[in-house]
């Protein structure tokens, strides 16, 4: 091993989200990585920090009508509509038949009432296969007018407080970018007991077929993901990082190590990779190798050393209120 390789190997990429310890700061985004098994043959499972499973609800859901996907410039729209078998079947089959893997497994919970979130979390978190819980309070494809729990700081606080009582495991709350002040929602989630925040879920969007004059998604509206939303996501992480002390899982259009670094520098402790897995499932492991090299070349010993560095020295700057009118 050459000297520089040895230095790279010594770089510490492990991170903690509450009690959840990850060997690598990379999660696979909910809904983009199935149960993990769909992709395990094409990726190196030993180089993945964690997999966030597809969101599950109390009752089975058929999901939205087709078409559910539209390719758009630098990204895609999806409107899956939380198709899932419901928590009973999910625990009995999907989870029980799971192949053990070296990555950490994060269960994702969705719901339509505060009680549903608490009920599903309690049942899912009770299982030893689940290492942590992500609360998807921000799916734009099921609620009327895209109005989700994460659009309302007070409602977010209520859900998180109730769910917090049901488990000791790490609780990650996934925020929506479809709000005026994401920092306010983040603060409520932190006060209510969240261990970490996932920033961001998809951005609401729409595409229209000019031949048929109809919306191109069966659900009319969808959620935009991929590089198209990356600058929106980086800003959201930057703002949330100033507002809270708990760790952030940054996501939105990460395809390369450079993209991931932007999120760490904006204040993310870990990142999540979703849509990029549809390009090539080996992208997450390339990002891990890229992080190791980037830190090694700069003589840095751990990923934690760069978290939030873009926030340094700018406290309070660039706020609209501060501008002269």
């Amino acid at each position: 091993m050459s000297g520089s390789q040895a230095a790279h190997a010594a770089v510490d990429l492990s991170v903690k989200l509450g009690r959840l310890e990850l060997a690598y700061p990379t999660l696979m985004g909910s809904g983009c990585y199935g149960s993990g098994e769909e992709f395990a043959a094409f990726a190196d499972p030993a180089k993945i920090g964690g997999v966030v499973l597809k969101s599950v609800t109390q009752r089975p859901r058929l999901g939205n009508r087709a078409p559910r996907l539209v390719a758009t410039p630098s990204g895609m729209l999806n409107a899956i509509g939380l198709q899932n078998p419901g928590i009973d079947w999910y625990l009995e089959h999907d989870l029980a038949e799971r192949v053990p893997r070296p990555w950490k497994t994060i269960g994702s919970v969705a719901g339509f009432s505060v009680d549903e979130y608490a009920y599903v979390t309690q049942r899912l978190a009770a299982r030893p296969e689940i290492d942590a819980i992500e609360l998807n309070v921000s799916c734009p494809n099921v609620a009327a007018e895209g109005e989700t729990f994460a659009c309302d700081p007070k409602l977010t606080g209520r859900v998180v407080r109730l769910v917090r009582d049901t488990t000791e495991k790490t609780l990650i709350v996934k925020l929506s970018p479809n709000v005026t002040d994401i920092a306010a929602v983040a603060r409520e989630a932190e006060d209510a007991g969240a261990d970490a925040l996932a920033v961001i879920n998809t951005v609401r969007g729409m595409a229209i077929d000019v031949g048929t004059w109809r919306p191109r998604l069966g659900n009319v509206t969808g959620g935009l993901s991929g590089p198209a939303i990356r600058p929106i996501a980086v800003l959201a992480v930057y703002e949330v990082a100033r507002a809270v002390k708990i760790p952030i899982v940054g996501q939105g259009g990460i395809e390369t190590v450079t993209d991931a670094l932007e999120f760490f520098l904006a204040g993310a402790t870990a990142v999540s990779i979703g849509t990029a897995n549809f390009i090539d499932p080996r992208i997450p492991e390339r990002i891990v190798e890229g992080l190791r090299a980037y830190l090694g070349e700069r003589g840095l010993l751990s990923i934690g050393q760069i978290v939030g560095q873009a926030n340094r020295g700018f406290a309070g700057a660039h706020r609209c209120e501060g501008r002269e009118g």
Binding site: G31, C32, Y33, G34, S35, E38, F39, A41, F42, K54, R59, P60, R61, L62, G63, A66, P67, R68, L69, V70, A71, M76, N78, I80, Q83, P85, G86, D88, W89, H93, E255, T275, N277, F278, I279, D280, R282
Partner: protein, 275 residues
């Protein structure tokens, strides 16, 4: 449908040949010995974009023989344009073979293979397999105009009888291929079809009128192509052997369930679709 037995893998291949059988339609052959050996009729691949941007492109496997695999596609957007730019010697990675292919197990003796436009790309392998088992194979092939009826000589050379239709009447009968199929004499024992959704619906209707079972290879937008995102669904009969195991929905007592075109399909029995 025959379920996929060979696990899919990422194959690193080298482009061997590239031709344009018609303007905007590309035939790309590449060296992939292992893939050529395991591909079954009706399966597809995901081409990993050489530039590393955009999501992977799902393409039906056109040929798989003697260490060479080929895809036949029309250039209809940035992703296919990028693939169309590949030349002999270029490298291309593909994830394959994916999906469940055509079920040719019932020893059909007289099969109609129905293609709408570039849907022809998924039909050479089943036609070859059927001819190898001494079945009669008639190709019913529709396209917008004569120039787009690509590869029909190839199907003839394989031993298919060819019946064509064009929208503008520039070759064969004027009109849709489903109309041509409706007049098939004698009636085939089985229909295999691939093409755009309206053409498949019309084919399904013609087959149900003829009383002939049909297997349709569906066209749908894919993201992952491997069953991980539930983005590519079609409603099917809950009792179908292809229905994903799934409990009943909440309300409505529905007897349909959403199956993934990339995982449970892309080939489905027409009578089991609830679209």
């Amino acid at each position: 449908m025959l379920t996929n037995q060979m696990p899919a893998a990422v194959h690193a291949t080298t482009v061997l040949d590239r031709t344009e059988p018609a303007p905007g339609i590309v035939l790309l052959g590449f060296y992939a010995p292992e893939l050529a050996a395991v591909t079954r009729p009706g399966q597809f691949l995901m081409a990993i974009p050489p530039g590393g941007e955009r999501t992977a492109t799902a393409l039906g496997i056109y040929e798989a023989q003697d260490r060479r695999v080929a895809v036949l596609f029309s250039v209809c957007g940035p992703r296919t344009r990028e693939l169309a730019g590949l030349r002999a010697g270029d490298r291309l990675e593909v994830t394959a073979p994916l999906g469940n292919g055509f079920d040719l197990s019932g020893s059909p003796r007289d099969v109609a293979v129905v293609a709408g436009g570039i849907g022809i790309a998924s039909l050479l392998l089943p036609a070859q397999a059927l001819i190898a088992s001494s079945a009669r194979v008639r190709l019913y092939y529709g396209a917008r105009s004569a120039a787009l009826l690509v590869e029909r000589d190839r199907f003839a050379a394989e031993g298919c009888e060819i019946h064509c239709a064009t929208d503008d009447g520039s070759y064969g009968r004027r009109g849709f291929v489903s109309g041509l199929l409706a007049g098939a004499e004698p009636r085939p024992d089985l229909v295999l079809a691939c093409g755009p959704t309206p053409m498949l619906r019309a084919t399904a209707a013609a087959c149900s009128a003829l009383g002939v079972p049909a297997q349709l290879s569906l066209e749908e937008t894919f993201a992952c192509g491997v069953g991980g995102c539930w983005g590519c669904v079609v409603p099917i009969d809950r009792n179908s052997a292809q229905a994903p195991r799934f409990p009943g929905p909440d309300k409505g007592g529905s007897d349909t369930v959403n199956a993934r075109v990339c995982k449970e399909g892309p080939v489905f029995w027409a009578h089991e679709l609830r679209w």
